[in-house]
């Protein structure tokens, strides 16, 4: 049977290429922490956002491989695309993780449901690098559960060729001049935020009337809107198919590299700030290795590689003060104090209010 042979050949070539995993040359890194080899042979399950770690592409450092080489611990790295997916996986009880990296409001929920394990980050030798602004945040006031990994803010991206000097306000997304050229978030929390900011509301309001008002405002903007997007915004802004839309500051920098006509502002009404932080869930099986991994992620060179790969702001002072850092003193990621927008964090919202605004969001989409 000829065909079976060819079939087997094709598959084995693909398989061999994937199995060898060759090609990566290890970087020459000096580490500050102490990584003894006693946990060699154990497995560490890491659960992180997709595209959220330096992976060795474009001569960068492959963070997980370096950790494996250094400690002999096998990193089993998997990804998620939303906090909610991460939460439901963890809650299902079918899988266990040693490290998870969710966002602020989700951490608040996980702590309130007693799903995180305390581990005293202060004892990690590299914890000193974390900027004090990102220690003791609202969900973890005493630094018992988390180490900040990433910081980001939402702003407005626009195309200079299509829009001349827009008003630095969220209302620009509602401006009739940009009819069918403006975008908005397709996820409820961020989408509502754009309207809530105009209305001057608390982003974490539990008053249903506030959410109703925000809904009315969003409905009125629908005649101007082109579409609700998430990562589709990359293509739409880069090609000029859309002229203005809100997204995360770090992603603007990536889009800018493909289209230099793009510009960015933080709206004067203020905006949302988010952090993603490293935590250890209660179901942890390799606790010591997990702590080792967190300390490793805080290493100046490792944190630098991650900050450059992800393109969001880093909470690590060793990165921020490094003159070789690609985004060193970048005004978008690290605005001066006078340009710093008013920011609000998302908090965990009680489930009845959450389902209320999620219902409104469906109304909006159908409107």
């Amino acid at each position: 049977m000829n065909i079976k042979r060819i079939f087997a050949l094709v598959l084995s070539i693909i398989l061999a290429a994937s199995l060898c995993g060759c090609g990566y040359t290890y970087a020459d890194i000096t580490y500050e922490g102490n990584y003894e080899n006693s946990l060699k042979g154990t497995v560490l399950n890491v659960y992180n956002w997709g595209e959220y770690i330096s992976d060795g592409s474009d001569d960068s450092i492959d963070v997980n491989k370096e950790f494996e080489k250094l400690t002999g611990i096998k990193v089993n790295y998997t990804t998620f695309e939303s906090n909610e997916t991460m939460y439901s996986q963890l809650k299902s009880g079918g899988v266990s993780y040693d490290i998870i990296i969710p966002s602020d409001y989700m951490i608040e929920r996980l702590i309130s449901e007693d799903m995180l394990k305390k581990f005293s980050p202060n004892e990690l030798s590299n914890f000193k690098y974390i900027d004090s602004a990102y220690k003791g945040l609202f969900y973890d006031k005493d630094d018992c559960y988390t180490v900040t990994y990433n910081v980001g803010m939402v702003g407005v991206i626009y195309n200079k060729k299509l829009i001349k000097k827009p008003k630095h306000s969220w209302t620009a997304l509602w401006d009739k001049k940009y009819k069918n050229m403006s975008l908005n978030f397709s996820n409820p929390r961020d989408g509502f935020m754009t309207a809530q900011m105009i209305l001057g509301q608390d982003l974490n309001t539990t008053n249903k009337a506030d959410w109703d008002k925000a809904l009315e405002l969003l409905k009125s903007g629908k005649s101007v809107l082109q579409s609700y997007v998430m990562d589709e915004i990359y293509g739409k802004m880069e090609t000029g198919e859309a002229a203005i839309g809100p997204y995360y500051a770090g992603d603007y920098l990536t889009m800018y590299e493909n289209n230099n006509d793009l510009d960015f502002f933080y709206p004067e009404e203020g905006t949302n700030i988010f952090v993603d932080a490293i935590c250890i869930p209660k179901c942890v099986k390799n606790f010591e290795a997990a702590k080792l991994y967190i300390n490793f992620l805080l290493e100046p060179e490792i944190a630098l590689a991650n900050a450059e790969y992800i393109g969001y702001a880093s909470p690590n002072t060793a990165v921020v003060n490094n003159e070789d850092y690609y985004y060193y003193q970048n005004k978008i990621l690290y605005p001066d104090e006078k340009d710093m927008p008013k920011v609000q964090y998302y908090h965990d919202i009680p489930s009845d209010i959450r389902s209320y605004y999620e219902g409104l969001w469906v109304d909006l989409k159908l409107y």
């Binding site: 997709g50 060795g56 474009d58 089993n76 998430m230």
Partner: protein, 270 residues
């Protein structure tokens, strides 16, 4: 005129079927990461794939699951088809056939969620602290592949002359030997069709794997998880490789089938 119109129609259908793939292949050869400006021709994204461990591991998982689940479900499905046909009562035959077909109609998400619940439930009873993983995706894939294999083997098996089996028995075969020597060669093409179908279905599956995979994430899941930021062109490169391999495989398969048909006709003529 009529011919020209029908050609145009077929052309349009082919265009809409393959244009997206063509665009993807085109931009996988782009040196930049834009989906708009074609900077210059390069194979960088293909070369870069060797470094992308997460994608390659995911591909490895996908291929292992697809192959294993296709093989196992082909064996089980063929056995099931033989068994169903051998049922004496017509009514039981009909009931069993319908029951095996139900999973096909079922929405993937229902299958996915219910399988996950079952796995976690059984895992808890067995006292495992981690029930989802390689084995559960494999079982899930076999489950949804099975009806397709049965569906493809059953008709051919019904068509085979029942005297074939009897003749083999008369000539001194044991029942098992008769099956392997006489029946199996007669239905081998439909078994292979079932296998290919199971393989591609498993390669494609997102929803059911999503709920049952645990740490064993397959390629579609890893690509989906990139959408918080954005899908990078090395995914286009990888998809191109997968598309071309599947395409070549199917072409070979069709050519082989044609040859077989010709041979059979040839034989019939004499």
């Amino acid at each position: 005129m009529k011919k020209a119109l029908s050609r145009l129609y077929v052309g349009l259908i082919l265009f809409f079927l393959y244009a997206p793939v063509a665009v993807m292949i085109f931009f996988s050869l782009n040196s930049g990461n834009s989906v708009w400006v074609f900077e210059s021709f390069s194979l960088d994204w293909y070369a870069g794939l060797i470094f992308d461990d997460s994608l390659l591991t995911a591909l490895e998982h996908t291929l292992i699951i697809a192959l294993l689940s296709a093989v196992i479900s082909t064996v089980l499905g063929t056995a099931a088809a033989v068994g169903i046909l051998a049922l004496k009562k017509k009514i039981t035959k009909r009931i069993v056939t319908s029951v095996t077909n139900i999973p096909m109609m079922n929405a993937d998400i229902v299958t996915g969620v219910s399988l996950m619940l079952l796995f976690v439930f059984v895992g808890k009873i067995l006292g495992l602290d981690e029930s989802l993983g390689f084995l559960t995706v494999l079982i899930a894939h076999i489950t949804f592949n099975l009806p397709y294999v049965i569906l493809s083997v059953m008709p051919r098996l019904t068509q085979t002359d029942s005297s074939l089996h009897e003749a083999a028995l008369d000539l001194g075969c044991t029942p098992i030997k008769a099956f392997f020597k006489a029946i199996l060669p007669a239905i081998s093409t439909s078994i292979f069709t079932g296998f290919i179908m199971a393989f591609t279905l498993s390669l494609d599956d997102f929803v059911i794997s999503y709920f049952t995979c645990g740490h064993y994430q397959t390629l579609p899941i890893v690509i989906y998880n990139m959408t918080k930021k954005t899908v990078t062109p090395d995914v286009y490169a990888l998809s191109t490789i997968v598309f071309i391999s599947v395409f070549v495989l199917l072409m070979l398969y069709n050519m082989l089938q044609n040859k077989n048909v010709k041979k059979r006709r040839h034989r019939d003529e004499y």
